[in-house]
Symmetry: C2
Subunit: 177 residues, 2 copies
């Protein structure tokens, strides 16, 4: 799929997924896109656990408790290493978001759908529970979860503010955009 | 350009750029890709200042003091709004990174090159100096700068660790990847 088409078609999907497993070849291609994202000082501070085991999927669904997750055929879990890589700065959050965006675009191009689950797992100890379930050590953080599958319904990208409200030439909030 | 080709070809370019201005049409297409990135609660907490004015480019080059910036034909500056959008959480850093990755892919697809400048402007007050230059108000943060142009030399993506070192099926650091 053309890059700009994938960028336009990517959307946050919270519907049900078809009961069709995702071939590991596709899961690998999707995560490989995440691996190729830029990372601060090329330290590659993000790792990925790809869950396609039915029992583990059920257990994660139980922890997150979003109805639509019940039909997810796989999930990609991003695992972060917060150690600094430049002065006292870690870029792992940026790395994770860039990888996540590559993954979401790859998901779109291959005919699947997903949604970026993030804030919800930071509360009530959900991320830690998921970390324990997947044997992620205490010094790493489970940060983002991406459920995957073939969508049962079509979806569209959330409306975005127009260019003129978010982008400006040469001076912030200038009107010559 | 095909999505997966753009993901593979994207690289951090720190060489000189050709002395050929970038049409505003291309700059708009590139930033529109950034606008279409996902954002936490769709709050779209990132704005963009696109600098193509020669005097302003020179002034930013002087602040950042990276040699290769002297030949940049334009720069995209990401401006963040740190106000919380979900409980006490702001997702603006994630939003910015996802937008930045879309921008870098669009840059690649259109035959330009760039590099994600981030940590370097967080020190010695550089980001604040750039904010003042562009009239960005004090309650917003200049976070990422992306210089742009047609590259004088070819470039390749930094080597990435293999899939088996960064991705695992169902159990962290399992060897069945």
């Amino acid at each position: 799929m053309d890059l700009f088409e994938a960028i336009k078609k990517r959307h946050s999907y919270r519907g049900n997924f078809k009961n069709i497993p995702i071939p590991r070849e596709d899961l690998e291609k999707i995560v490989e896109a995440g691996i190729r994202a830029p990372s601060g000082c090329n330290e590659q501070a993000v790792e990925f656990v790809i869950v396609d085991d039915r029992e583990k999927l059920k257990a994660i669904h139980k922890i997150i408790d979003y109805g639509f997750l019940e039909t997810a055929q796989a999930m990609i879990i991003c695992v972060l290493d917060h150690r600094p890589v430049f002065r006292d700065i870690s870029f792992c959050i940026e790395d994770c978001a860039a990888s996540t965006e590559n993954i979401l675009l790859a998901v779109t191009a291959l005919g699947y759908a997903s949604v970026w689950i993030d804030g919800h797992i930071r509360v009530d100890g959900r991320a830690k529970e998921i970390a324990r379930l997947l044997s992620v050590p205490d010094d790493k953080e489970v940060r983002v979860i991406l459920p995957l599958g073939i969508p049962e319904e079509p979806g569209t990208q959330n409306a975005k503010k127009p260019f003129s409200e978010r982008a400006f030439f040469n001076v912030y909030k200038s009107t010559n955009a």
